[in-house]
Symmetry: C2
Subunit: 386 residues, 2 copies
């Protein structure tokens, strides 16, 4: 009774099952391979913006969906926020905020539980305003909490699975694994940023306190930092050099801590001897910070910000091509601020006149290239005193 026939059915069945098993296994392994790769990409930066960008790209790619969102929790306001790029890059970015509890993402943040919603439009938690604003149609969605040490720090969403499919439970499982990696990468970037800010703010606070010994220079350091940063936007400078410039601008005058009150706080013009004493501050600053290995690229701005292109500056009488870039930038920012602020024995110049003065001294005292950048920044409204 049909043994061979039954057998060939059985064989077809087994072959089919084998094909299916292989296909499923290959798909799963491919997904894991992608997940592992994405985890490497996610964690190989500590830059907050970059991590967020990579997290959304990773979600879109791994889940094969139309779009992804990363919403972070603002602990102070108890809101979720995310930045949406409007149109092409370069255009303004808009921040959208959502109360915890509000919408699907708000529900997930509140309950700390993941959601798979196959029919978003008919889900009562759906926050329609966002779709209306963006004219985007949300069909199906995965929404999972980002947790660090059991605390929700945000929410990751994958929206509209591609190729006519709808998200399923296996997708959700995979997405949760990605979310774990994203949570860690986001948190590491936050910790790094907080430490960096603590460092910069501490340096600023101390520089500010040191500056306050001299009652005639209120706010000088802050303005030099701002002018230097503005200049750096108009010249080719890489991010790490920009960071060194900022730190150096903050610390450029800290050598003044070694100048006595009697010289530093003198309300009238300095005598020749007093001026020689005052001129020690770049070297003193170098000495104070010189042992800190990680600040080796910062020191030149402290030591050389009173050098001049024509070699008539101090302490080393360097010429233009010998003076490090960040020192040439700080020199212009520093001189502009000195010219535009009042001293007890003279009134400060107005800004237009000070700019003319910079241009007059360009190529002699200052690097022409830097003065040009400063003038462009000034004309475009990026140099302001206040």
């Amino acid at each position: 009774m049909g043994g061979p026939l039954d057998n060939s059915d059985k064989i077809r069945e087994l072959e089919e099952e084998l094909r299916h098993t292989l296909k499923k296994s290959e798909k799963k392994i491919a997904q894991f391979t992608t997940l592992t790769e994405l985890s490497t990409v996610l964690n190989s930066t500590l830059d907050q913006e970059e991590v967020r960008e990579r997290a959304m790209q990773a979600a879109t790619r791994l889940m094969n969906c139309e779009v992804s969102s990363l919403l972070l929790l603002d602990n102070d306001s108890h809101e979720l926020y995310f930045e949406v790029a409007l149109g092409d890059k370069g255009e303004k970015v808009k921040e959208i905020r959502l109360q915890v509890g509000e919408g699907i993402a708000g529900w997930v943040a509140k309950h700390g539980e993941p959601l798979l919603i196959a029919d978003v439009v008919n889900d009562e938690r759906h926050f329609r305003k966002a779709d209306e604003k963006s004219k985007f149609v949300t069909r199906d969605m995965l929404c999972v909490p980002l947790k660090v040490k059991n605390k929700v720090i945000g929410v990751l969403e994958a929206i509209n699975k591609l190729e006519g499919e709808v998200f399923n439970d296996e997708d959700l499982e995979l997405f949760i694994l990605l979310a774990n990696q994203v949570a860690i990468a986001v948190d590491n970037a936050r910790l790094y940023k907080e430490l960096r800010e603590t460092f910069l703010q501490t340096a600023e606070a101390l520089a500010d306190a040191i500056e306050k010994r001299d009652p005639y220079t209120g706010g000088h350091t802050k303005r030099v930092v701002r002018y230097s940063t503005a200049i750096s936007e108009y010249i080719g400078i890489d991010p790490s050099e920009k960071e060194s410039l900022k730190i150096s601008a903050i610390l450029h005058d800290i050598g003044k801590i070694g100048i006595e009150d009697i010289v530093l706080r003198k309300p009238s013009r300095l005598s020749k001897e007093e001026f020689e004493e005052m001129k020690k501050h770049p070297v003193l600053g170098h000495e104070i910070m010189g042992k800190i290995l990680q600040l080796r690229d910062v020191i030149p701005g402290m030591r050389y910000h009173h050098e001049r292109c024509d070699g008539k500056g101090y302490p080393d009488g360097l010429t233009c091509d010998e003076i490090p870039l960040i020192a040439r930038i700080i020199a212009v920012a520093d001189a502009f601020d000195a010219m535009t602020t009042d001293r007890p024995y003279r009134k400060g110049l107005d800004m237009d006149t000070a700019v003319e003065e910079l241009e007059r001294c360009s190529g002699k005292q200052f690097d022409e290239h830097i003065v040009r950048a400063f003038v462009r920044a000034y004309r475009e409204g990026h140099i302001f005193n206040g």
Copy 2:
């Protein structure tokens, strides 16, 4: 002609293949699941020691092997180094160093290529001395480079696969994926540590410069940091509070930046008015740093290190249970250093006498608990002036 027979062979074959495929797939998925989990664990700390520890545990677990090693590259000496725990935890850790190019790990670091060695004993690259020293027998081994931005930063080894097996190419593939995660976690921890050190060193350098205005207190800040740290080893204090204590001890006197030369540098005893002026420094310090959110746990040590348990201190006349812990610690460290250093108008006490003085004032000026900790630290040789 045996059709049914052939068919049942075929069925057995297919069933066998299906079982095999399923088993292989399950194993692979289990490995990837473990890898994903380990990657989460690895990246969820920025503490260097912790990352190294977790990396070795991850390698041993994922590769199912007897032992794992993580060797890091010292760029200055061009050596690989690793720390080996000798015996039970708590015992001393020994550092082993290896030239790049030396041994199997040295070969991998030099060439930047992974190695699978099934028979280590007969491999000419094998560095026998390490085995001889540790009396460990290395049979088979996976050794892969840790790379960040294409630069080798170290080497990860898995040694002696368990359960009678020998490492194969699939193991090597999996191990390379783990090594990628380890490389990133190690590098992130390094970047975080470097930033933290830059912050602490900058704060120290500035505190040191501020301290140098007062010619009679050379090295005071450094000693207060050291004494405070020693005390903290003898009381229950969590790691984050210990970190705050260190930063606070570094910054405790920075308010002196706001005290005029004429008071600060006076070589004789201060008048009542001058002393009142000097007494402003804790509040000035608080004001300088008060805006820095991340330093909120550091400020109390600056503001309250001149408070006394009996309420007779300044600036706020707090009593013992109102004075934050880190301030009570710095108070003892600060007073001990003041007593044991010379002033132009008096000679410093010897350390034994100063300790007696602390004990005499215990419960009145100082927290008894802190004085007891200090005395223990002193008797066990952890308080030294130098």
